[in-house]
Symmetry: C2
Subunit: 425 residues, 2 copies
Amino acid sequence: MSNPHTIDSELLQKLVHDALVWSSLHGLVVGDRNVERSGSVPGVGMVHAPIALLPNSFPEVQWNQACEFAPIFNELVDRVSLDGNFLQDTLSRTKKVDAFTSRLLDLHSRMLQIGKKEDIRLGLHRSDYMLDEKTNLLLQIELNTISCSFSGLSCLVSELHRSLLSHYKKPLGLDAQKVPVNTSASKFAEVLAKAWTEYSNPSAVVMVVVQPGERNIPELINTHNVTSIRKTLAEIDAQGKILSDGTLQVDGETVAVIYFRAGYAPTDYPSESEWKARLLMEESSAIKCPSISYHLTGTKKVQQELAKPNVLERFLENKDDIAKLRECFAGLWSLDDSDAVKNAIQQPEAYVMKPQREGGVLVRDGICYKEHAVSELGIFSAYLRNKETVINNEQCGYLMRTKVSSSNEGGVAAGFAVLDSLYLT
Amino acid sequence: MSNPHTIDSELLQKLVHDALVWSSLHGLVVGDRNVERSGSVPGVGMVHAPIALLPNSFPEVQWNQACEFAPIFNELVDRVSLDGNFLQDTLSRTKKVDAFTSRLLDLHSRMLQIGKKEDIRLGLHRSDYMLDEKTNLLLQIELNTISCSFSGLSCLVSELHRSLLSHYKKPLGLDAQKVPVNTSASKFAEVLAKAWTEYSNPSAVVMVVVQPGERNIPELINTHNVTSIRKTLAEIDAQGKILSDGTLQVDGETVAVIYFRAGYAPTDYPSESEWKARLLMEESSAIKCPSISYHLTGTKKVQQELAKPNVLERFLENKDDIAKLRECFAGLWSLDDSDAVKNAIQQPEAYVMKPQREGGVLVRDGICYKEHAVSELGIFSAYLRNKETVINNEQCGYLMRTKVSSSNEGGVAAGFAVLDSLYLT
């Protein structure tokens, strides 16, 4: 694709201007930290989200590969989640040093003890990759199984880029169709609604677990004619109960599906009340996105374990799938893998991933910066099954994040990151 | 509809919060005057548009009436625009005292002299009404034929209100379906695209005349696969020319349709250059929205003239239509109508319109005010004809504006206005 550093300054100015107007009109906005009330009052002190002005070039081969990985990782998470002992064993050392993981494992143990089964299992995941400059390999950075962020904004950035590329087709000479369509927000909502359908209770609701003060409207769910409620963990503890048939009721509403937008961080559990709420939900028949097993499967330690020789084979049958995943695991080294430590001391360069570095044009707070940057690609995916029937297992859009790779004379700090999309090459 | 003053404070807080989040996510935003760069840099310093929290109750009978007026007013504008002498005569006194109207009339004269014909005529209008409390009559305030504002934001307010009414169906007890669907933005774009089709030149563009610095993306037009360009009057003067066949070319692009988002105010013409641009467009074969004749038909003076006895009869045949329009003209009195002046001195109360005053909940800058307020309803309409064929003549959504009707102890000034929608009763 054309080098953004060669775009003439008049065109650049027009592009920035149009990108900012588009962002304002389409909700590609965030709260402005410089405005005092913006954190507490929605609708005031808004600023466009930090964005890349143009999409990042990305090889089509690796893009297709990342999309192909999505259903395999979904399946893997599901299989691993069913192996309670594997999760407990793998995390046994972490349990000793990490109080938060320890509490999650206690909850998980209790579910094993009572023989809790999740017939309907729902995962909304995001697998993050970087492209290694030397090998051109797609390397997995992490797999997120809880509260995957940016699904709402990332699809807007792709739309913005497609719109700019169509509007400035002549001067840019780029093809808007090469920015893959990004369905992140609508697909996640659709699969949540499907899970609700599987629960088979027309009067039940989707409950979004939120941090205190957060009140995003889960309106996309509403477009599927599903009512949703938002509750903090403390509210769920105060207002929730389980009926004799296992049904979860919160504030008088029967809960079909629980989506966790909170509950993934130690700070989400300031008291025992929040842990009681988590336990209550886990014990209920509501569909949890994610269940405690899915949540634990997303920990770094479990992913490192899966990268070890012969571990994937315990969970997947297809040899091609196993080979594919293994190739992208190169980045997942654990410091308690003694072979890896030894090798790294002998050949340190082999253990340093060199992400592809590109020239990019980044826009933050209305100001445009031309910088060298590195990008990370996240692939959203959804998995829904009811007993033996897999209802959904697919890629659901993507998130491209681009970071300034070094600080420059202008004083832009390395690490400043923007939302981006990709342009297939 | 339920009295907004009786909504309990917890629900009110939730509604305000959700309304503000919704506004941020759907582009129902404006620049915040308190933020320095917000006027010059788009995408920074945004705040939600001032809005009514809930729709304003409005009688269905008068709503239907206002919708029925739309095609009749469209037809009337078209008929009046064809009577050059009527326009010149009616405005002859204004010409002497108002330099701007005088220049517009000169332009119009010149078109009469050269016998300029507009075969394809396009009008995007907005007719504004108030409801008189005493008579319950719908009274026309003015008819706008150029650069009708708020078509982009008003449809969003209706969507916001429908969304709140659905989401809070139980506690509010209101029916979202009673907020009429508002198609203002998409319909105007659709009719502009239809006009472009009538021009029958696939490589021609829609040109939006903008004020310097304004760079809104007319993206809705683009969704109809019509390319659009934005030019200031000064740019059109510098880059425009008419080819021998009457075609307008600006910056190398053939112009099929001209939409004026500027050119309606004296300040839009700081030098002769802007007037030259206006003349160039008027002389060309491009479809003008509006033409100089349509523009002049929208002046207050012409509307006052139309309100005089036996004037409507010169332009419309249908007696029912004439009777309907006459009834809503009650507000259009001219100070040089000597009968009206005499009568007003004798019976002043008959000449004061009392607009319906309601209790409302208005939200500005993230803060909610309960105030008494009056509302003005604008009906958008589109008219497109090619010679004898009327291609479009319809209502295209609405604009409801609600104003605080008196200043209160809290110090909110009378006149502070918000965007609103209506709830049919």
